[in-house]
């Protein structure tokens, strides 16, 4: 299933964001993102994680992360 994990932007350098989700730190290009983002915002990464695909509002990100935490805890992923 093409599940997406909202990832927290922890740094931005020259159009490339460092993002964190479930302890994993990655970098992703902001080139394809339509919205302006800043450190502290959440984004969803596109397939493969090369590009950020979408900004997610904090409430929805929190809800999705809570659900995904349950999925991980029950070993469904």
């Amino acid at each position: 299933m093409c599940m997406a994990v909202p990832s927290l932007i922890t740094a931005i350098d020259n159009g490339v964001a460092t993002v964190e989700a479930f302890g994993a730190v990655r970098t992703t290009s902001l080139m394809l993102l339509a919205d302006e983002v800043a450190v502290g915002d959440y984004v969803i990464l596109g397939p493969g994680g090369t590009f950020a695909a979408e900004k997610v509002d904090p409430e929805m990100a929190a809800e999705a992360l809570a659900y995904l935490t349950e999925v991980l805890a029950t070993g469904q992923a």
């Binding site: 299933m1 596109g46 397939p47 994680g49 929805m60 809800e63 991980l72 992923a77």
Partner: protein, 367 residues
């Protein structure tokens, strides 16, 4: 990659230079939707487009249809039309994204990022142009208030992306012809019926352990789902399939045909779309429902049970489970293949079936 962000590993085992076995490894969490159980429908339907963002509209619409069927809600004609527009906008955008992002690397070219960038915002813009309050996935219908000017603009911008995609497609088709690969990957066709397997509701209802969702079939047959299956009744596609079966040329051409026809359909539907207040109540709090949507990559099914108004046995079957099934069109199409550039040719076939997760190809020789 996080455990939740699944991927596919395609391993080609060579036996005396020919592919003797195809292994498709997938860690896709087909049972993740079990965790939606016990929640309220509106909460889940709000969450689905974020959780499954690649085809978020289709996921939201499939869930919506399943919930409405379970709750005995019959959405109005205007709501159904607006939902079809949302679905087809995503189909066009996803096909165009695949053409502009995934096809150029097959030709040794860079993805067309400039043309790719506006596509995802157009999906969001279509939702807003139809449902300004953002309630497009609410059971009983949201407040539908079409902004015709905005919708016309969206159609125009999608058309621009389709035109850019045409250029990439022309080069890819030429290369396939140059390599004499028009029929590459063809197998005896086993195409998904328009409404899906006839007993899909029963099969999903009985799938407590997720084994059917991981490896779906219909009386043992593994269908190909997606543009080729949907476009196959059209005369031009029938003619192409007469020449090349379900090989690369018909599969890539079907994607382009579907992209153009979906765009035309959106253009037509927008013309006479009227508003609707929505808000139909749930007719019952207990029941079960199936929702089936033609997502860009193929048939997407959601099945739910409602118990005292809460969701149970939430099950999702995605198109990639059919097309990338160990006995599906990709695996069978690669059996017996030999010759140079095996990895590239396997990538072409995989791209023609467009999985919804990243994939990696490994070739292993066995003495």
């Amino acid at each position: 990659m996080l455990p939740l962000e699944s991927s596919i590993v395609l391993t080609l085992h060579l036996d005396e230079g020919r592919v003797g076995r195809v292994e498709i490894g997938s860690n896709r969490p087909v049972q993740a939707s079990d965790m939606l159980n016990g929640r309220k429908p509106a909460q889940v339907l709000g969450l689905l487009p974020t959780l499954y963002s690649l085809c978020g509209t289709a996921q939201g619409l499939a869930g919506l249809e399943a919930v409405e069927n379970a709750a005995g809600i019959i959405a109005s004609a205007a709501q159904r039309k607006a939902r079809r527009i949302l679905c087809q906008v995503e189909v066009v955008a996803e096909h165009a994204a695949s053409v502009l992002r995934d096809w150029p690397p097959l030709l040794g070219e860079a993805p067309d990022l400039a043309a790719l960038k506006p596509l995802r915002p157009l999906i969001m813009a279509a939702r807003k142009a139809l449902y300004p309050a953002g309630d497009w996935a609410v059971p009983g219908g949201g407040r539908l208030a079409p902004d015709h000017e905005a919708l016309t603009g969206i159609v125009g911008r999608l058309g621009e992306a389709v035109s850019r995609g045409d250029l990439v497609a022309d080069r890819l088709i030429s290369r396939i012809e140059d390599e004499d690969m028009e029929g590459f990957g063809a197998i005896p066709p086993s195409l998904m019926p328009k409404a899906g397997p006839p007993d899909l509701d029963e099969l999903l209802a009985a799938d407590d352990d997720g084994s059917y969702r991981a490896h779906p079939h219909c009386d043992g047959a593994v269908f190909e789902t997606g543009p080729l299956a949907r476009q196959s009744p059209r005369p031009l596609m029938a003619a192409l399939m007469g020449l090349y079966g379900n090989g690369l040329m018909p599969r890539f051409s079907a994607r382009m045909m579907e992209m153009a026809s979906a765009l035309r359909e959106v253009e037509d539907l927008v013309q006479d779309l009227s508003g609707d207040s929505g808000g139909l109540p749930m007719a019952r709090n207990d029941g079960s429902g199936l929702g089936v949507v033609d997502a860009a990559r193929g048939l997407l099914a959601h099945r739910v049970e409602l118990r005292e108004g809460l969701l149970h046995a939430y099950r999702i079957l995605a198109p990639t489970e059919w097309n990338f099934h160990p006995d599906g069109p990709l695996a069978r199409g690669l059996m017996g293949v030999s010759g140079p550039d095996l990895e590239w040719r396997a990538a072409l076939l995989a791209a023609s079936l467009d999985p919804c997760v990243p994939y990696r190809i490994e070739v292993r020789s066995h003495a």
